[in-house]
């Protein structure tokens, strides 16, 4: 004798239906298919390439689809020194990425300007675009970037998607 309800448990459809919330489902889709935009600007880009290759294998986390078009990318990985001249392009590419979008500042230079204290270098890419995860290192080990990616997945999984969409729609309606 067991308590049965249509939605709680039904032995006839067991194995075919998973009960979840819309938020959890959407976030699950999103966090396991983060398509990176590789903004490789200096030596960190070499480590980024290592992460993409078979030894460290970023595809274990669903992020192997490097997109060189910002329109198809979800997460910009800023790997390297951002000079003021390049800052214009970085900002422009970020603006071209569709929501939802995330940003990982990889290494000392992208996070703070690193050892380049000079007239030519932007002191941290967070001065022009919002950064979700900072990775320390000069350059960081590939494992460090994978750890950042896992932290980003964790962050994505906690996003209140429905609430955000509702707020966005309300704002649109008001405007």
């Amino acid at each position: 004798m067991q308590a049965q309800s249509e939605i709680g448990y039904n032995s006839k459809i067991e194995g075919d239906v998973v009960i979840t919330t819309v938020d959890a489902a959407l976030n699950w889709f999103r966090k396991n298919s983060v398509w990176p935009m590789p903004m490789g600007l200096a030596c960190c880009a070499i480590e980024l390439m290592a992460v993409g290759a078979s030894r460290f294998d970023i595809s274990r986390f669903g992020s192997e689809v490097m997109r060189f078009s910002p329109r198809q990318a979800d997460c910009m990985i800023v790997a390297g020194t951002v000079t003021y001249k390049m800052a214009l392009s970085v900002k422009r590419i970020w603006d071209q990425m569709p929501e939802p979008r995330w940003c990982i500042a990889m290494g000392a230079c992208a996070s703070t300007g690193g050892m380049y204290r000079s007239y030519a270098v932007l002191q941290g890419v967070d001065r022009i675009i919002p950064v979700d995860i900072y990775v320390s290192g000069c350059p960081p080990r590939p494992e460090a970037l994978l750890d950042a990616l896992m932290k980003l997945q964790n962050k994505i999984s906690k996003t209140p998607v429905v609430e955000n969409l509702t707020i966005m729609n309300l704002k649109k309606a008001a405007a």
Binding site: G114, R117, A120, R127
Partner: protein, 244 residues
């Protein structure tokens, strides 16, 4: 070795001409013979030969001669020197190399600050295009008849010339509304900050520095080291314990 008999007449003649230049000194002599008083020779430093061109306006002619007749077919670099406080303020340095004969010559020429302008050599070597753009970007020296004299490293519209001696290392604020900006860089506490002077390598070494407390801290460390040395006869404290 190139076998002469296998080559066509034109190449043969060319190689024989080249045979006249075997050292940088030969090239310098030929330049002096051609341009006379305009070219003077500077002391040879570490086996490298430098000539000075008195009139910067003649740079294109000299370079054209060096390329066509002396076979300096490779322009290695053009650099600018800021002799801040002296007159003339600018020195332009052209590094020439002939890939055929393997000799190198450096041409230096001075330009005054009021003028800050000299002829371009893009018509001689196409590669001069980017070299001259870099000198213009960093120093603000103009090149006449350059086909495309824009900034190359800093963004278009940047108002300063950052490699001039009177430009601070940390940079200056600038704004191009809505498009681009630069900010003064915080130098204090940065990694790899060295200071000039000081009594010891310890006071000069590159490390994290906080300007307000740095000198006190360094002096304190040196004092402690001195005390230890006096007490133990060794800067690192008591030596290994002697076994009996």
């Amino acid at each position: 070795m190139v076998l002469l008999k296998n080559l066509d007449l034109e190449t043969k003649t060319r190689i024989c001409e080249l045979a006249n230049i075997v050292t940088s000194q030969d090239a310098a002599n030929k330049l002096k013979a051609k341009f006379g008083d305009l070219i003077s020779e500077l002391p040879i430093f570490r086996g490298e030969l430098t000539v000075r061109l008195t009139d910067a306006e003649k740079i294109t002619e000299v370079c054209l001669y060096a390329k066509n007749d002396l076979d300096f077919n490779y322009l290695v670099d053009i650099t600018g020197i800021d002799n801040y406080g002296d007159d003339p303020r600018w020195t332009l340095v052209y590094h020439l190399r002939g890939l055929g004969h393997g000799c190198e010559v450096r041409i230096k020429t001075d330009v005054s600050e009021e003028k800050s302008k000299l002829p371009s050599v893009v018509s001689v070597w196409a590669t001069a295009n980017w070299h001259e753009r870099e000198v213009y970007d960093m120093m603000g020296i103009h090149f006449r008849d350059h086909p495309d004299l824009r900034r190359i490293l800093m963004w278009d519209g940047y108002p300063y010339f950052p490699l001039r001696k009177d430009f601070p290392l940390a940079g200056k604020d600038s704004e191009l509304p809505g498009v681009a900006f630069t900010q003064v860089t915080p130098m204090a506490g940065g990694p790899f900050v060295t200071v000039a002077g000081g009594n010891s390598a310890m006071a000069r070494e590159p490390r994290i520095r906080i300007p307000e407390t740095d000198s006190i801290e360094t002096m304190g460390r040196l004092e402690r080291r001195k005390e230890i040395q006096e007490a133990h006869g060794h800067p690192k404290g008591p030596g290994p314990i002697e076994r009996k």
